[in-house]
């Protein structure tokens, strides 16, 4: 039981975070809350990738000693790190654009509540 938890908890926790983030994006009426949900979702995916790249007994992927022969087993898998660096930057870019949309919508409609926005548009 304990071993099972020790081996699986990162996946369970990230699954919970993903669902929380999606819930925020879909069910919350405030557009700001939708964006907060979006950020939670993105971080959750990043944690998921990094948790999957763990290697017991390995160290940070930096070659410390010049000239010493590096053994691949000594390092954490660097590929997910690279992918997630990209994903973080993409996430920030999307958040920035979404916030620009928010400011503009607020200016035009005077509200950030999804229901009343849709009402105003339908009218």
């Amino acid at each position: 039981m304990i071993e099972e938890i020790a081996a699986r908890f990162p996946y369970w926790a990230t699954a919970a975070l993903i669902v929380i983030g999606l819930y925020g994006m879909i069910a919350k009426r405030s557009l700001v809350k939708k964006l907060i949900g979006m950020n939670i979702l993105q971080s959750a995916i990043i944690l998921f990738f990094i948790a999957g790249s763990l290697r017991e007994g390995a160290s940070v992927p930096i070659l410390f000693e010049e000239g010493a022969v590096a053994r691949a087993e000594d390092f954490v898998n660097p590929l997910p790190h690279v992918l997630m660096l990209t994903a973080i930057v993409v996430g920030v870019a999307i958040t920035g654009v979404a916030l620009a949309f928010l400011v503009r919508i607020r200016e035009e409609f005077g509200t950030l509540d999804e229901e009343s926005l849709l009402e105003q548009v339908r009218r």
Partner: protein
């Protein structure tokens, strides 16, 4: 690394995510989101992803928080949900 510590941090992460979504005061919600991001960064550093942790702290927690606050400070702070 001690996996129990990671587990505890993950628990805190879930709690702060829920708090960030449920707070009515938007500035407070954004603050909670920053807390969430910083804890995620700490967790990433524990898992050996120092580069990712650094980026998450600088971009995810720092810049995102600043942009959120910058945009929200021009708006109503209360959300209807």
């Amino acid at each position: 690394m001690v996996w129990e510590l990671e587990l505890a941090l993950f628990g805190l992460l879930v709690v702060s995510a829920i708090v960030a979504l449920q707070l009515r005061d938007l500035i407070a919600a954004v603050a909670a989101l920053s807390v969430y991001s910083f804890m995620a960064a700490a967790l990433l550093a524990m898992m050996g992803a120092v580069d990712v942790a650094f980026t998450e702290a600088a971009l995810g927690a720092g810049i995102t928080g600043v942009l959120f606050i910058g945009a929200i400070s021009l708006m109503h702070r209360r959300s209807v949900d």
